[in-house]
Amino acid sequence: MMGDERIKGKVREAVQTGAQTKVQTGAQSLSFVNAPFLSCAASVTGKKEGEGPLGRLFDHVSGDDLFGENTWEAAESAMQKLACSLTLQKAGRKASEIRYLFGGDLLRQGTATSQGVEGFDIPMFGLYGACSTAGEALALAAMSVAAGYGERMLAVTSSHFGSAEKEFRFPLGYANQRPLSAHWTVTGSGAFLVTAGAEQSANIPGDAGTGQSAAMPGQVKISGVTVGKIVDFGLKDSQNMGACMAPAACDTILQNFRDFGRGPEDYTRIITGDLGHIGQSILFDLMQDNGYDIRGNHLDCGMLIFDQETQDTHSGGSGCGCAAVTLASYIYPKLRNGEWERVLFVPTGALLSTVIYNEGASVPGIAHAIILEHAAPGR
């Protein structure tokens, strides 16, 4: 009997170490043995986003940026609630079928999330990674599913122009001139269903969305993640967030290349969260300094979501909602239908608060990379 136990223990140990070396990839990455699926996604945005280049792709565009509420904060919560509901509805799932929820926003103490998801009664983790939160939530949801901690996880993030301006800058009515390097916070929320197995999702009849998901062949797998470090180049300009975040994006992308032994050519697209026009050109330079040219396959959600010329958004969109709604509406369908084979999705965040900023602290950045892959149907 004792011998049996010892052998079992040894096998377990061997399996565990074997699995560990396989999952833990390089210094900061994980490559999942049983890759979880990004089964369903939904996006909800405000009016300005609806008028932008991706406008017709969003599931729900509200003509009223208050979403029928009295305050910007309540409006943001309403968006999160709607994004989660739409995702569950599309997937044909009930909230009770979700094991854990990973959510975050930009507001103090993450209240947009706690107020928004309260009604679903799902055990939840509140996250803060500034605008990189979409990556953080997806990484944790995928890790939890891959580890077998649950069959289905929900990841949701949001940002709102009104509440973010109030939190980080000035009251909306205050007259000033925004610098050309400033970003425009996206009013939007994206929710994602991460599952252990491939699951069908349907479009909702009569919805503002284009119904891509119903017709989309194939699935999307989260094959791996690279968790980013805080990178601080000592910049103290909160009105130039692209420049604050570009070094972090570069660091995470390079680490992903090192950990997986890959290069830009291994990804159909490398898509950062909200570097904007200035951040993108800085990222190109930083990558070039490290011997990589990503100009050919790089996109940035902050540049995709608004038309810089006609929408007066200066450097581009930003916020937790920016990367989330762009992934849900634009990137995800292209992965589902196989137009894109493998995407490195890298939401970026500028880690600042008005308090430490006024006290003279610099604005460090963080970026998490999620590897999204097209998977043939029936797999």
């Binding site: 009295n70 305050t71 109030k166 000035f170 009251p171 909306l172 009515g173 205050y174 007259a175 000033n176 001139q177 925004r178 610098p179 050309l180 390097s181 180049f233 000592g234 910049l235 300009d237 130039n240 420049a243 070094p247 200035i278 050109s281 800085i282 330079d285």
Partner: protein, 150 residues
């Protein structure tokens, strides 16, 4: 030390990389905007004088009229647009000051009369009031010494 140099180099690089507003153009726009607001003020003043009002009263009526106009334009979300175009030309006159008080009042109204409007109405204008009063106090003191010494 090395890290500090690296950070400085990055700061310089970012400064070089980041586009800024066209200064001469911005100054020209500020001149037009500020000039228009002052012209409006002068017209109100002249009108008051033509009505035979006292000099002091004329000045007060002019200020109050411009403040009212700015507050209304803030409420209608028009003043931010004027400032976006006119820059400092819209910020420096009394109308800009009125906007900086009206905007927080509108935004923080939802947090209550006391904790919202009461506590936060001067979040932008507060420093101007504090250091404006302080500077006039210092200058008053200097003037008093100057007069006493003469």
């Amino acid at each position: 030390m090395d890290k500090q140099k690296q950070q400085e180099a990055y700061r310089d690089y970012v400064k070089w990389k980041t586009p800024v507003h066209n200064l001469p153009l911005n100054m020209a726009k500020a001149f037009v905007t500020g000039g228009t607001i002052c012209l409006l003020g002068q017209m109100i003043l002249n009108k008051c004088e033509a009505m035979g009002l006292d000099q002091d009263v004329c000045g007060s009526v002019t200020s109050v009229s411009l403040i009212l106009l700015s507050v209304l334009l803030t409420g209608w979300n028009l003043y931010p647009r004027i400032a976006k175009w006119g820059g400092a030309g819209a910020l420096v006159p009394i109308t800009g000051f009125a906007n900086s008080v009206a905007a927080p009042a509108i935004e923080y109204k939802k947090e209550g009369q006391v904790m919202g409007i009461g506590c936060k109405i001067f979040t932008i204008a507060g420093p101007v009031i504090l250091y404006g009063v302080f500077t006039s106090w210092v200058l008053g003191g200097l003037y008093w010494i100057w007069e006493a010494a003469r």
